[in-house]
Amino acid sequence: MDKADISRSSIAAALEKFIRESAQVPEEDSEFGRSAQLFDSGYVDSLGIVALMVFIETSFGIELAEEDLFDIRFATIDGISEIIGERLPRRT
């Protein structure tokens, strides 16, 4: 997929799928969603965040800085999608 064609929603879908699989979130977990607090709720632990970073950097071809990890938005799937969306090249 051309980076410019990646929508915010498809970014979120990819992140959700990755986190569901890597954290083994059951389908019936109603608390989990794109606005769930990933760290405070334990969906992503200290090892999981490294895998998440690698997934983001390789899937979307962007580089995350340490400061990004502490961006207030870097706590939910929606927020992370926003950060990724800002880093992708804009469609001209």
Binding site: F39, S46, I49, A51, V54, A65, E66, E67, F70
Partner: protein, 437 residues
């Protein structure tokens, strides 16, 4: 405008002192040429410039006060001692400058060093790189001997390959060097690592001191391992305990250390991160020291990036007035150029040449804080069996650093980095006059 509580020396790998003028200039590109371990804080007009070395070996924390400006420190506890709430403390990321203009309420981060995310360059010749690394290490240690001709020098010999190579190369330049080896015999007797370390010392003709400790010593060292090791994660705390005990023993031998007299401590640290030579440890039916589920190249980047959080070497030895030297840091770029397929024994053998006999490379690897591959004794079993697991370490860290709860403490380290901010902290932290994001 700036209160600096920075401790310990900045060391250039080319062994020149890092020039303050360099730092004060603070123009784009200035820091890219600086190699070494450093953490600097300078006032330039109405701005404060903070900068930290590419690997984040020296720690650099700061907070912004509504009236007084910026306070910067090496140790978290120094900021807490100055009245800064834990939630208002931020770190300068590795290889980054942070420029703060308190009156304009502006903060900008600028990265001057990036880790290559794509793994080792496939075209480079490993044999030539290993040869270069040997030459660079020899040159560096030679410069170090010229820079500190009168300094007492100790090398921490764990019994593993990394510290043995450092000792072998350093012995050429520091003939009066002493080897120190930590030993926690417990009920299992001296570990295989201790025997190996003593054999290495004999082979190199070094006087050796075994720092034999008891379970009580290990437990007594735990608070300082967290306080000065600036971490609560078990893999770093356990390693920091070893260093607290070694540092205490060495400082006891050199009482003038830190008061105008420099004592150099050479270690083999960082090679494991640079080669991603780590594996989880099984004990009591549980896995300890887990690693993220990523490929080898990505793991290597993650481990090297993670050097910036945790202060088990520089911070711990500095707390006893000792200056730690990690020679592998001086060649980190070349070590990262080596292909992932090259195992640790091959790397050490390639650098060492014929210094060690072939059987030396055959021994199974053990963690220094455990001592032998079978995990028969050591710090991990002692702490695990006495109920001092991860939750206990977090609780102790909360009390030492004054973190209000577990969530706040845990959020201070993420993916191997301390909390940083990319904008000016704009709101008051509770009732204090310090600011948080």
């Amino acid at each position: 405008m700036l209160e600096s509580l920075l401790r310990g020396p900045d060391l250039g790998w080319d062994c020149r002192q890092l020039r303050p003028a360099h730092v004060r200039a603070a123009a784009p590109g200035v820091f890219e040429d600086l190699t070494g371990r450093f953490a600097t804080a300078h006032r330039v007009g109405d701005r404060v410039i903070l900068a930290r070395d590419p690997l984040g070996l020296n720690k650099l924390f700061f907070a912004v006060h509504m009236d007084a400006g910026v306070i910067a420190a090496t140790y978290l506890t120094d900021l807490r001692g100055a009245g800064v709430p834990f939630e208002a403390i931020y770190a300068v990321p590795a290889g980054t400058t942070v420029e703060i203009a308190p009156r304009q309420q502006a903060l900008a981060c600028q990265r001057f060093h990036r880790l290559d995310r794509n793994g080792s360059p496939r075209g480079s010749d490993p044999v030539a790189t290993l040869h270069d690394i040997r030459a660079d290490l020899t040159r560096y240690l030679g410069h170090l001997a010229q820079q500190f001709p009168a300094a007492p020098v100790a090398v921490c010999l764990s019994g593993g390959l990394d510290s043995a190579l450092v000792a072998a190369l350093a012995a050429e330049h520091f003939p009066a060097m002493t080897a120190y080896t930590y030993s926690f015999p417990g009920t299992a007797g001296p570990s295989a690592d201790v025997s190996q370390a003593l054999a290495t010392g004999r082979r190199l003709g070094l006087p050796s001191t075994v720092v034999e400790v008891s379970a009580a010593d290990v437990l007594a060292a735990l608070p300082d391992a967290i306080r000065f090791g600036q971490d609560w994660r078990d893999f770093n705390v356990h390693a920091a305990i070893v260093n607290v005990l070694l540092a205490d023993a060495i400082a006891h031998e050199y009482p003038a250390a830190g008061s105008g007299s420099q004592v150099l401590i050479l270690t083999g640290d960082l090679m494991n991160e640079l080669l991603a030579d780590y594996a989880p440890v099984q004990y009591g039916g549980r896995e300890y020291y887990g690693l993220p589920a990523v490929g080898h190249d990505a793991l290597r980047v993650a481990l090297v990036r993670g050097i910036q959080a945790g202060d088990r070497e520089v911070g711990v030895f500095q707390s006893r007035g000792l200056t730690v030297i990690q020679p592998y840091a001086s060649v980190f770029r070349k070590l990262l150029d080596l292909p992932a397929a090259l195992g640790k024994p091959d790397v050490i053998r390639g650098i060492a040449g014929d210094v060690f006999p072939p059987p030396f490379y055959l021994r199974a690897k053990a963690r220094a804080q455990i001592g032998d591959p079978e995990v028969r004794g050591g710090i991990l079993p002692l702490l695990a069996d006495s109920g001092r697991g991860s939750e206990y370490l977090e609780q102790l860290a909360r009390s030492i650093f004054g973190a209000p709860d577990r969530r706040v403490l845990r959020s201070f380290i993420r993916a191997g980095a301390y909390r940083s901010c990319q904008g000016f902290p704009g709101r008051r932290c509770g009732q204090s006059r310090y600011l948080q994001v």
